[in-house]
Amino acid sequence: MNEHQPSIPAQLAAHRTADLMRQVILAAAPAALISTWYFGYGVVLNLLVAICFAYALEASALYVRRRPIQHHLADSSVLVTAMLFALSVPPGIPWWMIALGTGFAVLLAKQVFGGLGQNPFNPAMAGYLFLLLAFPLEMTAWHVSEAVIDPDSGHSVLGLASFCGQLELLFPGLIFSSFDIDGLVMATPLIESKLASKSALMSAWSEGRSLLARGSETGWEWINVAYLLGGLYLIIKRIITWHIPMSILTTVLGWSLFFYSPEQSAIVGTPYLHLFGSATMIGAFFIATDPVSAPTSNPARVVYGIIIGSCIYGVRVWGSYLDAIAIAVIFGNFLAPLLDHMLRPRIFGQISHSRAAPAPLGQASTENTAHE
């Protein structure tokens, strides 16, 4: 028997886990930059704080669990979690909320279950959902620079004043109002915003306004376009498959077309708004595709996408929450193991599904004589 023991298939895979994670980060980076451009420094500050906390918490959890810290941190998965979390939370929430959220994500949603690969739920979304339930008000308010809402206010989104304003919001009491933070206002994103009635991108286009001007209300759309392109990049690079994003987008589009009526668009939203006016793209391409918590076979992935897409639409239109990505993804996570179990591919050479009585191995292998 010893003859077959030491065989080691050469592992020359094009991808390493850490590379995969880095590619995901790379693909999301343009969208993060555009968010910063439109919404100010809050986005970057959130990212920094979340990454620092996530790394520190992961390292301490690994220390407590007596795992090789460097080896596990090197897979960069915690960086992706922190990034997705930070990009989902609104700018302008205090640091301790970010710490709580990342703590929930890294410690409770991931490490408690045994670390990378073992977590049944998407950690970033678990953290987000936790914050959303605990602080519903703060989590749906977007503190952005006044310049975003009113271009004539005289404040610059990327100016020093708004930077200090964001810093003040992040670390309350850090800078004792020596700076003027009046330049920051609160705006709720998505459906309540002016986007609701009419596509801002289209109207800006037809009115001849500069699409990249901050006041043109096109921020969300550009961000979504960036996520879409980033996602397509990941698909082309074969890091994710098309199944989950496409089925989510098609489902959302399908439902919004089905329920669309011009008089009601303020309530149910337009298809365009559903796809480009909110977090749909990051959800479809970056969050729902998290391989650990998603199903692994392609048919199961399609069903998973349909469930998430329907859930997104349903919660948005008939639920009380404005954006439903986190709820939908966590809901999908609940069903992922079941989908994986039920929608298995037919095994080579077996007539029906593998659930039909498995051949006892010992018997099978003795009959299996002729291997040429």
């Binding site: 390493r16 886990t17 050479g349 002729a370």
Partner: protein
């Protein structure tokens, strides 16, 4: 089913299968030189175990005995088809449980062969020649060819497939073989067809082996075989995958392809069959690819069986410590240098001094750091599903891994662990560098052991129950005899019948009573 299979075969499409991987071929450098016959090595190591070490041969010679080329060295006690011949003349220097060593004298004195020169060669002739030559399948496990043919012929074989698809990187012995011995391969394949009484014959080559394809066109014209091109994917050359690609039939792991009317033989086997039938030559050599970056001139050898791997390597311009002037200079170099026997995906690490060429040896690879990085630390499975995409038999390796780690027997079975062909495609693509195949092999072994144990314990239980009933019967009879000794009647059929009838009547009574 079969007509469908035949239609698939005759359509000239590129045959393919789902899943699989496309590793870089890396055969160019090796194929630059033609197949070279090796010099006669000083020492030949002939293994006495064959077919995955399941069968053991008994030596027919003694230590110190002089042998001549083609002389019979060892046979199987029960099975005359398993036989080993001397590849060259020399003296037997050692016989252990597993190997037999020959010190060659360099003279290559041969016994006189009698080939078959008659016009009409019958099926029985061919089978006899193959059996006498001791040919075993050159592609995989080394199952005796003549047995495989007999099995297939008795099941009514329809199609013979000659497998010339070597899909692993570095391996190119079949490509070189067909490039240079195409007519012999085709002739051998025809003999195989005749021997197995197959209706159709197909030679399957991967579509990127242009030289081999070009070389085989001519001999094919005069034969009844057809050429089918395969998509250049790994593992196109696996028996079941090959059948699936060519005929669309999926043969489960519990069935033998021969039962479905399909016989697969390796191209190298076909050549050996030609030699055996036409020249009467026993199987004493085969074509071996010797490749790898550390070699100056990698090439394909027509190597005598028993040639030590270290000799092959040094003929290719590779110097190991033993032959080097300054051993220390090479020690560092050889630190990470490993020898792989077989392809990089299904082969195994081997010691170059103990290992020798056998009929199943396709390739010897000297590894380098770039193509064979040290298996780094394994990361957690991120369930990316790359492995499932690569799996040619549509398993879910990530689930199998999970169940292997937990050793969940039920789920391992229901996820089809027994269907895993151990091709290594999943491990190849895994970004977390998880040695999936090792896990699967281990689990398979444990499952097999536990199945064996279970059947044994079932047997024991059955025996015990049997013993108990017998005890009971004897006891009852003794009691009976003690009570009424005068009614002792010898056992007879009539008695037994009436007793049984009485018993049945009693049971019936009881039953009807119960119902009321």
């Amino acid at each position: 089913m079969l007509s469908q299979a035949v239609r698939w075969l005759t359509e000239g499409r590129l045959a393919s299968f789902s899943g699989g991987i496309r590793p870089p071929k890396q055969t160019q450098r090796t194929l630059r030189s033609r197949v070279m016959a090796t010099p006669i090595p000083e020492r030949l190591i002939m293994p006495l175990t064959i077919y995955r070490k399941q069968e053991r041969l008994t030596p027919a010679v003694r230590i110190g005995e002089a042998v001549r080329k083609y002389q019979c060295l060892a046979t199987h006690l029960q099975d005359p088809d398993l036989i080993l011949h001397a590849p060259t003349s020399g003296m037997i220097t050692a016989i252990t449980r597993d190997v037999l060593e020959i010190q060659s004298d360099g003279l290559d004195q041969a016994l006189i062969l009698c080939g078959n020169t008659t016009e009409k060669i019958t099926q029985a002739d061919i089978l006899q020649s193959i059996g006498r030559a001791g040919i075993v399948g050159q592609g995989g496990a080394g199952y005796p060819t003549v047995k495989k043919i007999r099995l297939a012929a008795s099941a009514g074989v329809k199609v013979l497939i000659v497998n010339a698809a070597e899909c692993e990187p570095f391996v190119c012995c079949d490509e070189a073989l067909i490039r240079e011995f195409a007519d012999q391969v085709v002739k051998g394949a025809e003999y195989l067809m005749q021997a197995s009484a197959a209706d159709a014959g197909v030679i399957a080559i991967e579509s990127d082996k242009h030289e081999a394809i070009a070389a085989i066109q001519e001999p094919l014209k005069a034969s009844s075989l057809t050429l089918r091109l395969l998509a250049a994917k790994y593992p196109a050359g696996d028996e079941r995958i090959l059948i699936k690609s060519l005929t669309g039939q999926e043969i489960p792991d519990s069935a033998n392809p021969a039962e479905r009317g399909i016989l697969v033989q390796n191209a190298g086997t076909a050549k050996a069959v030609f030699d055996a039938v036409k020249l009467g030559q026993p199987s004493i050599s085969r074509i071996v690819t010797v490749a790898g970056a550390p070699l100056k001139t990698p090439k394909n050898f027509s190597a005598l069986l028993g040639t030590p791997v270290s000799d092959l390597l040094s003929w290719c311009g590779f110097e190991h410590e033993g032959h080097s002037e300054e051993p220390s200079a090479h020690l560092q170099h050889t630190d990470h240098l490993k020898i792989i026997v077989g392809g990089p995906l299904t082969g195994r690490r081997a010691d170059m001094f103990c290992e020798s060429v056998q009929q199943t040896t396709t390739c010897v690879i000297a590894t380098d750091k770039i193509n064979f990085p040290a298996s780094g630390p394994e990361h957690a499975c991120i369930r990316c599903g790359f492995c499932a995409e690569a799996c040619p038999v549509r398993l879910l390796p990530q689930q199998l891994l999970l169940h292997s780690r937990n050793f969940d027997e039920h789920n391992l079975n229901s996820h089809g662990l027994h269907s895993c062909i151990e091709c290594g495609a999943c491990a190849y693509v895994c970004p977390s560098k998880i040695p999936l195949v090792q896990h699967f092999r281990q689990s398979k072994e444990i499952l097999r052991d536990s199945a064996a144990e279970r059947s044994e314990s079932q047997l024991r239980q059955a025996r015990y129950r049997h013993w108990q009933t017998r005890q009971g019967r004897t006891a009852r009879r003794q009691v009976k005899q003690a009570a009424e000794p005068e009614r002792e009647t010898p056992f007879s059929r009539e008695n037994a019948r009436s007793e049984i009838a009485e018993a049945v009547a009693r049971v019936k009574e009881k039953k009807s009573g119960k119902r009321q």
